[in-house]
């Protein structure tokens, strides 16, 4: 191998900062795509990535990692592992691919934005690797489900989801567009790489990889662990960006960017990871509850990282702690009830043993959320599964685009009022599920005010006919694609035969 150690020449690969002469700073770095927040150009040149890597090391490492993942998939795809996985785990994996695969590819476009509009050459290089990484993640996470399409037609949603207006996909796009695809380079470094990748996905992927191995899904486990090693590297673009902002006296900018995206990430996390951890993962494979996971990895470890950079907990911390007790239970209930509107087959995950576990992890669960399941279980046992299915629509939050669950939070004793938050802006009424969601909107009304939630679209006549079948068609769900109970109502106990596959 070449004799000079990387440390001797590395700085020469990233010192390409210069003063523009033939166009202006704003022409080269338009604020829409690169908001400097008033930090002078030369201050950005101090941007110093904590993780150093060269192109040569990158292609050598990545070639080996890709060979590993593809060879595992090549072997396991010929096995019957998928068919033998628990229905809950299968639901979690199908939901994951739909929500994440093509989104990761779009993160590559976001990384390319930082690689072009980042304000230091060192940063642009790191983001160039990030672009390649996310291309990898988009391609791996479509390739693997593609190979298994014959076994699992629902894997079509790994590719199709982002072309649809399925409500969860609208919520995911609304979040991810704000976070990276339609974000400027500087905000993205704080919001995508620091807040989301360092705070949420990095840890989630570690957790999911471990759960996958326990559930026997070695293919998914190998995939997720390999992806996580890339994320751990390119997520480190946030730290130096925070340091530059802080040094320039702009810590408040970093704090604000963090606060807004932390809440937004929490909401999607509460939906997807919440039901995956507490309801879909088979009981015997669970290592911790969603709340314990949030407490340990996000609230403690990630908070320590904020503090290292002079940032503080977001102002809504008490509300976050409150929501951790109940929001994901409400989302799970909603997803199960509106199961025809999702592309996976939700499992209830509330058999007797699961309920015991839920009560232990969330004292009071049986007396609050358990009651809804009691009613649904009774309806199923009485031979009326149709009563566990929706005929109307929920109210949707104009910020997170997820159903407003304040009545459930109120009924469970966690909120003082069942009412949503409402804002009038330019003559239009906007509804929010929580005070921070309302605040996110009010911080950037020009970005969000013109957007219509799926319920706004229904009321505006975009969705015809304005009923459940019309909405399902609008969401891209054919009758055979609509979610059904993933265990054929096994959770409800002895069920009349006619109820099965209803």
């Amino acid at each position: 191998m070449p004799r000079l150690p990387r440390s001797e020449w590395y700085d020469l690969t990233r010192d390409m900062n210069w003063d523009l002469s033939y166009i202006t700073e704003d022409e080269a770095f338009p604020p829409q795509l690169s908001n400097s927040f008033g930090v002078p150009a030369h201050d950005w040149w101090a941007w110093d990535e904590p993780y150093k890597i060269t192109y040569s090391e990158y292609v050598h490492n990545q070639a080996g990692k890709d060979a590993g993942v593809y060879s595992v998939n090549n072997v396991l795809n010929r096995s019957d592992i998928w068919d033998n996985l628990e229905p809950g785990w299968r639901a979690a994996v199908i939901a994951h691919y739909g929500a994440i695969a093509v989104a990761e590819y779009q993160a590559g476009i976001g990384e390319a934005r930082m690689a072009r509009f980042g304000r230091a050459a060192a940063w642009r290089n790191m983001a160039t690797f990030g672009t390649l990484d996310e291309t990898r993640h988009g391609q791996l996470q479509t390739y693997i489900p593609y190979q298994a399409l014959a076994k699992e037609p629902k894997f079509d949603w790994a590719h199709k989801a982002y072309h649809t207006n399925e409500w969860g996909v609208i919520a995911a796009r609304h979040l991810f567009d704000d976070m990276f695809l339609a974000n400027d380079a500087v905000s993205m470094a704080i919001q995508l790489t620091f807040t989301f990748e360092t705070g949420f996905t990095n840890l989630q992927f570690l957790g999911m990889a471990a759960d996958a191995m326990k559930a026997g899904d070695f293919d998914f486990g190998a995939l997720i662990s390999s992806i996580q090693t890339d994320e751990a590297r390119h997520a480190q673009q946030g730290e130096p960006t925070i340091k530059v902002l802080t040094k320039a006296g702009k810590a408040d900018v970093a704090q604000d960017l963090l606060d807004r995206m932390f809440w937004r990430a929490w909401k999607l996390f509460a939906l997807l990871t919440g039901f995956s951890m507490d309801y879909y993962t088979p009981l015997e494979n669970r290592t911790h509850s969603f709340k314990e996971f949030m407490d340990e990895f996000i609230n403690k470890q990630f908070i320590d990282q904020f503090r290292d950079f002079g940032l503080e907990k977001p102002w809504y911390w008490d509300q976050l702690l409150n929501e951790m007790n109940w929001t994901h239970h409400a989302y799970h209930l909603g997803v199960y009830f509106w199961r025809p509107t999702v592309w996976w087959n939700p499992v209830a995950g509330v058999g007797p043993a699961e309920r015991e576990w839920l009560e232990e992890k969330y004292p009071g669960w049986n007396a609050s959320f358990g009651k809804y399941w009691d009613t649904m279980g009774q309806n199923v046992r009485d031979g009326h599964p149709e009563l566990t299915l929706p005929e109307t629509f929920p109210v949707v939050c104009n910020s997170c685009q997820l159903p407003v669950c304040t009545p459930a939070g109120y009924a469970a004793g966690y909120l003082e009022s069942p009412l949503p938050y409402v804002v009038e802006y330019n003559g239009r009424k906007y509804t929010f599920c929580s005070e921070p969601c309302k605040w996110v909107f009010e911080m950037q009304p020009e970005t969000f005010a013109g957007h219509l939630s799926i319920i706004d679209r229904l009321l505006s006549g975009w969705i015809q006919p304005p009923d459940i079948p019309g909405a399902l068609a609008y969401m891209g769900l054919s009758p055979e694609e609509c979610g059904v109970d993933g265990t054929d109502y096994d959770w409800a106990g002895p069920v009349p035969p006619a109820t099965k596959s209803a």
Binding site: R3, S21, Y22, S56, R116, T128, T135, H159
Partner: protein, 331 residues
């Protein structure tokens, strides 16, 4: 369950009823740019949010458009995995090349005159090459299909590859011939103030300010990059060989392989675009004509940094490189 009763699909449902089973390259890129021409706006926010307007103006609104970009294929048909496997092999080759020349102390034995040429003409190159990396990433983030996005992203990574090997060489030169060769300030001063570099800097800075995705593609990939690639791959490589610098000649030959891959996907994109919208031939030719004087100026100015090189030959080589690419593109 309902899902088990369906017929096994042949491919992604969005690809329709295909006769041929699509390749891995195709199924891991087809229709990934779902936001292109999405209604009412590319991104899930206010349709008139600034970034929506940016894309609607510079991508959907570009005159460089056809009805369907999804039929385009990069001739190299590279997935991410293919790209890193390919470059892993090529970097292994370069590692071996450098090992050999380190053992032979090749850089240590270069003549002072040639070291001076390298200092003036090669060391500052990391600045313009980095701007070409940036611009390729702009084209990528604005392109209407993943088949173009990926090709342009890999091209940007190739530019970084070239910058990094030249950075290594710079340090090696500095260790052998004087620390000042590796001075950032000296390289930046040459780039910002050196007379011979100014036409190149002017062209590349102006290219940074081009935001129509079609013009950014045409200016970079049909005009400016081929000119700079010719300077390195044709003229500088030949001069290196004449000055017994086999290492640099072979490094540049290796980078030329990457440049050829860029030309291949570029020419194919032009052919595809014109085949689908014949009016684009004139659009592209107009952009080429608009950027050609800048390319010619940077070539003849850079030639003055190459003592012993025949300026006319340098200019001719670059002109031929452009003409060949335009011919291959059908323009």
């Amino acid at each position: 369950m309902a899902t088990r009763e369906r017929k096994a699909p042949k491919t992604w449902s969005l690809l329709g009823d295909v006769k041929r089973r699509p390749s891995v390259y195709e199924v891991t890129a087809s229709q990934f740019a779902y936001h292109f021409r999405r209604e009412p706006a590319p991104f899930e926010m206010s349709p008139d949010a600034p970034i929506n307007e940016w894309y609607l103006t510079h991508r959907e609104g570009s005159v460089f458009n056809v009805d369907d970009w999804e039929g385009y294929r990069d001739p190299a048909k590279l997935t991410y995995s293919d790209y890193v496997m390919l470059q892993h092999d090529r970097e292994t080759y370069l590692d071996g090349l450098i090992d050999h020349h380190e053992s032979a102390s090749s850089v240590e034995s270069l003549s002072p005159e040639w070291v001076s040429t390298l200092t003036n003409a090669v060391v500052p190159l990391r600045f313009p090459l980095h701007i070409m990396q940036m611009t390729a990433l702009y084209v990528a983030q604005m392109a209407p299909t993943a088949f173009i996005i990926n090709a342009s992203n890999f091209q940007a990574a190739d530019e970084m590859r070239r910058v990094q090997r030249l950075a290594y060489l710079t340090k090696w030169l500095a260790n052998a011939h004087g620390e000042s060769i590796a001075s950032t300030d000296a390289a930046r001063a040459a780039w910002e103030k050196g007379e011979a570099w100014q036409p190149m800097r002017k062209a590349l800075e102006e290219l940074l300010g081009v935001y129509d995705w079609g013009e950014a593609f045409a200016a970079l990939d049909l005009v400016i990059k081929p000119a700079i690639d010719s300077l390195l791959g044709d003229s500088l490589a030949a001069l290196a060989a004449e000055n017994d610098d086999e290492l640099l000649a072979l490094l540049l030959a290796e980078f030329h392989r990457d440049a050829e891959r860029s030309k291949d996907w570029t020419a194919e994109l032009v052919r595809y675009a014109v085949a689908n919208n014949p009016a684009l031939a004139e659009v592209l030719s107009t952009w080429v004509a608009a950027w050609t004087p800048a390319a010619d100026a940077l070539v003849s100015s850079y030639a003055t940094l190459l003592p012993g090189a025949d300026t006319a030959a340098v200019v001719t080589a670059a002109a031929k490189a452009r003409a060949d690419l335009l011919a291959a593109s059908g323009l």
